[in-house]
Amino acid sequence: MVPTLALISIIVFIVIQLPPGDIVTSTLDRLQASGVEVSAEQVQNLRAQYNLDKPMYMQYVHWIGGFLTGDMGYSYLYARPVNELVWERMGYTLIITFAALIFVWVVAIPLGIYTAVRQYSIGDYTLTSAGLIGLATPPFLLGLILMYVGYEWFGVSIGGLFSPEYREAPWSWLRFKDFLSHLWIPMIVLGLGGTAAQMRIMRANLLDELKKPYVVTARAKGVKPFKLIMKYPVRIAINPFVSSLGLQIPFLISGEAIVGMVLNLPTTGPMLFQALLNQDMYLAGSFLMLLSILTVLAMLASDLLLAIVDPRIKYE
C-alpha cells in the first residue's frame, strides 16, 4: 500500500504542476485585472516566500514531508493553513460518501434479490428499467433535475447541507435534524448510480447462483423458500457483491466532487475545483492526496471484508 501511495503522491504533484504558471502568476493576473500594479521585485519576493523559486523536486520533498508530518501547507488562495480548510470539508465529504454507500447497500441488496427471484415479473421489468435509467443519468444531471422538481412541484429550494439559520451555528440537536433533512438529497443523487449498478450486479450474481446444484439439493431437503434463497444462493452471491461494493467507493468519492458543486455543498469538490483553477498547490495537492488515501483504504477494506465473508479465500 505504501509504494502505491508514494507513486500516487508523485503523480498528484506532477498533475498539480502541469498548468503553465503557478499561484503567483494567477494571483498576479487577478491583481492586474483589478488594476493593482506589482513590481518585479515584489514578484521575486512572493516567489521566494512561497518556495516557488526552488527546483521541482525540492518543492515536492517540501510538500510531502510536510504532509507526512501532518502539516499540509498553506493555502495562498484563502490565506489560511490548509489543515484548517481541509478537515471540515473532508468531514462532510466522508459523511455524505458513507451515507451514499449505506443507501446503496440498503436499497440494492433487497431490490437485487427481488428482481432475480421474480425474474420476468412486472416488478422485475420496472425495477430493471429504472435501474438502467439511474445508471445512465450522471449525478450532476440528477442533481439539476431534482432541484427543478423540488422547486416546481414542492416549492422547496434544494441545495446546501443546512438551512440558512443553521449554517454558522454551533452543533445542536436542532442543527443535526436540519442537517439530516438536507442530507438525503446528496445521498440519493450521489448513490443512485451506484445503487443501480450494484442492483444489476446482485441480480446477475444471484441468477447465476440460483441455477446451481446446491440450491436444488437444499430444496430437496425441504428448506422453505425464503430461508432457501437467503441461506444458499444469496449467501454466496453476496461475496462478489461485497467486493464490487468496495469498488463503488472510488466512484462515490469522485462523483461527490461534482455533486458538491451542483448542490452547493460545503465539501471538498467546490474547494478543490477553485484550488485547481488557481493552482493553489498545497490545497489542491492535499485534497487529491486525501481523496486518494481514502480510495486506497476503501479498496483495502473491501478486500478484507471479502476475505472474512468467504471461507474459501482464507483457505487459499
Binding site: 509504494p3 502505491t4 507513486l7 500516487i8 503523480i11 498528484v12 498533475v15 498539480i16 502541469l18 498548468p19 503553465p20 425474474q119 420476468y120 438502467l132 435509467i133 445508471l135 445512465a136 443519468t137 450522471p138 450532476f140 444531471l141 439539476l144 433535475i145 432541484m147 427543478y148 422547486y151 416546481e152 429550494s157 434544494i158 441545495g159 446477475a204 441468477l207 447465476d208 441455477k211 472510488p250 466512484f251 468519492i253 469522485s254 462523483g255 466532487a257 461534482i258 458543486m261 451542483v262 478543490l272 475545483f273 485547481l276 483553477l277 489542491a284 485534497f287 487529491l288 481523496l291 486518494s292 481514502l294 480510495t295 486506497v296 479498496m299
Partner: protein
C-alpha cells in the same frame, strides 16, 4: 424429434444478438444517432451560432396539423411567438400566436453550409421560410436554436465516446496483453501502474488534468486533450481484465494442447487465445463508450473540458448550471436527456453483445 441443428459460434452469437431484441434495437438506434450526428448540418435547420432575437429563451414549439379553425393540413406547421414582459416578475413570457403560421418545409433551402466542411449546400431536412423560425427544443439565452445545437453537439459528444473507447481498447489490450504474456518484471511494473491509476479518484484527476489544458489551445487540440485525459484513467480497468483473461487462458487445456502439438507461441496467441477473449474485450470496450461520454459531459459542464464555441452536450448543459436558470428554462436540460438515452442504449447494446459473445453461457434475459 428433429435433427440437432449445428451452428458455428459466430452464427450462434449473431443469432443470440438478434434475439436479444433490445440490444439489437439499441444498436440500430445508436447507428441512427451517429448517422444523424454526422449529417447534422443537413438535419438541422440552423447552425450552432445562428441567433434569433425574436425568440430569446423561448420554450419548445409544438408541431400542429390542425389550425385554429379546425382545419387539417398535410403539411405540419408551428406557431410564431408573441412576446410580452410579465409585469410582476419582469420575466419574458411567450405565448403561441395562432395567426403566425409557419409551415414546415422539407428538403428545402435554408442557411447555406458546407457539409463536412467540404461540400457547399443549402438544402436542409426541414426548415421554414426566411422570415419565420422553428425551435423544436426552444432557444437559449442568446436566442440560439437548441435543437440544432443539440444535434451538432451530438457529433462531438458521440465521437469523443468512440475515439476515447478506441484509445482505451488499444492501450488496454496492448498493456494488458504484454503484462499477461511476458510476465516477470514487465508484468509487475504494469500491474503496479494499473493499481496506482485505479486508486486515484477519477473525477478529481480529470478536473486537475483538464484545468491544466492551456486556454490558448485550439478547439481541436482541446478535443484531443480531453479524449486522451479520459482514456488515461479508463485503460487500466480494461488492461486488468485482459491480463486476467490471458492468464486464465494460458492454463486452459486447449492452449496446453496446442503447445504440446508443437504450435509456436505467436500462433498460440493469435489462433487460439485471441479469439477467445476478443469478443469479451470488445464488449467491455463498448461499455467504455458511455463512461467517456459521461466524463466529457461532466468536464465540459464544469467548464474545464470543451469550451465554447465548440458545442457538445456537456457544453450545452453548462448553461443550466444553477436552478434559477433551470426553473425558468427547463428545456435547457434536453441535452441531458440525450446523454441519458445514449448511455442507456450503449449499456443495453453492450448487454446484448455480452450475451452474444458467450454463446454457451446460460445466462441471459429475454
Amino acid at each position: 424429434m428433429s435433427d440437432p441443428v449445428e451452428a458455428t459460434p459466430r452464427q450462434l452469437g449473431w443469432r443470440r444478438f438478434r434475439r436479444h431484441r433490445l440490444g439489437f434495437f439499441c444498436a440500430m438506434l445508436l447507428l441512427a444517432m451517429y448517422i444523424t450526428a454526422y449529417l447534422s448540418d443537413f438535419v438541422t435547420p440552423y447552425a450552432t451560432d445562428t441567433r434569433n432575437v425574436s425568440a430569446i429563451n423561448a420554450p419548445p414549439m409544438s408541431i400542429h396539423f390542425i389550425d385554429k379553425n379546425g382545419q387539417f393540413h398535410f403539411r405540419p406547421f408551428v406557431y410564431g411567438w408573441d412576446r410580452s414582459i410579465n409585469p410582476d416578475t419582469w420575466a419574458r413570457e411567450y405565448r403561441e400566436n395562432p395567426e403566425l403560421v409557419f409551415p414546415i418545409r422539407f428538403f428545402s433551402r435554408g442557411e447555406p453550409y458546407k457539409l463536412w466542411g467540404l461540400i457547399p449546400l443549402e438544402t436542409h431536412l426541414f426548415t421554414v421560410q426566411n422570415d419565420q423560425y422553428i425551435h423544436l427544443f426552444g432557444t437559449d439565452p442568446l436566442g440560439r436554436d437548441m435543437f440544432s445545437r443539440v444535434i451538432h453537439g451530438a457529433r462531438i459528444s458521440l465521437s469523443i465516446g468512440l475515439i476515447g473507447a478506441t484509445l482505451t481498447l488499444f492501450f488496454g489490450v496492448l498493456l494488458g496483453g504484454l503484462s499477461g504474456y511476458l510476465g516477470g518484471w514487465t508484468d509487475r511494473i504494469i500491474q503496479r501502474i494499473i493499481e496506482v491509476l485505479q486508486s486515484i479518484p477519477h473525477l478529481p484527476i480529470w478536473m486537475a488534468l483538464s484545468a491544466a489544458l492551456p486556454v490558448s489551445w485550439s478547439p481541436l487540440l482541446t478535443y484531443f486533450g480531453v479524449t486522451i485525459i479520459l482514456s488515461l484513467l479508463a485503460w487500466p480497468g480494461l488492461a486488468r481484465q485482459v491480463r486476467g483473461r490471458f492468464l486464465a487462458l494460458r492454463e486452459e487445456e486447449f492452449v496446453v494442447a496446442a503447445r504440446l502439438l508443437g504450435a509456436r507461441k505467436l500462433r498460440v496467441i493469435f489462433r487460439h487465445m485471441l479469439p477467445n477473449f476478443l469478443s469479451h474485450t470488445i464488449t467491455i470496450a463498448t461499455l467504455a463508450v458511455p463512461a467517456m461520454i459521461l466524463g466529457e459531459t461532466a468536464l465540459s459542464f464544469l467548464g474545464i473540458g470543451l469550451r465554447p464555441p465548440v458545442v457538445s452536450w456537456g457544453v450545452l448543459l453548462q448553461q443550466a448550471q444553477n436552478y434559477q436558470v433551470i426553473v425558468m428554462s427547463p428545456w435547457l436540460l434536453i441535452p441531458g436527456l440525450f446523454v441519458v438515452v445514449t448511455v442507456m442504449a450503449f449499456n443495453l447494446m453492450g448487454d446484448g453483445l455480452r450475451d452474444a459473445a458467450d454463446p454457451y453461457s446460460t445466462q441471459g434475459q429475454k
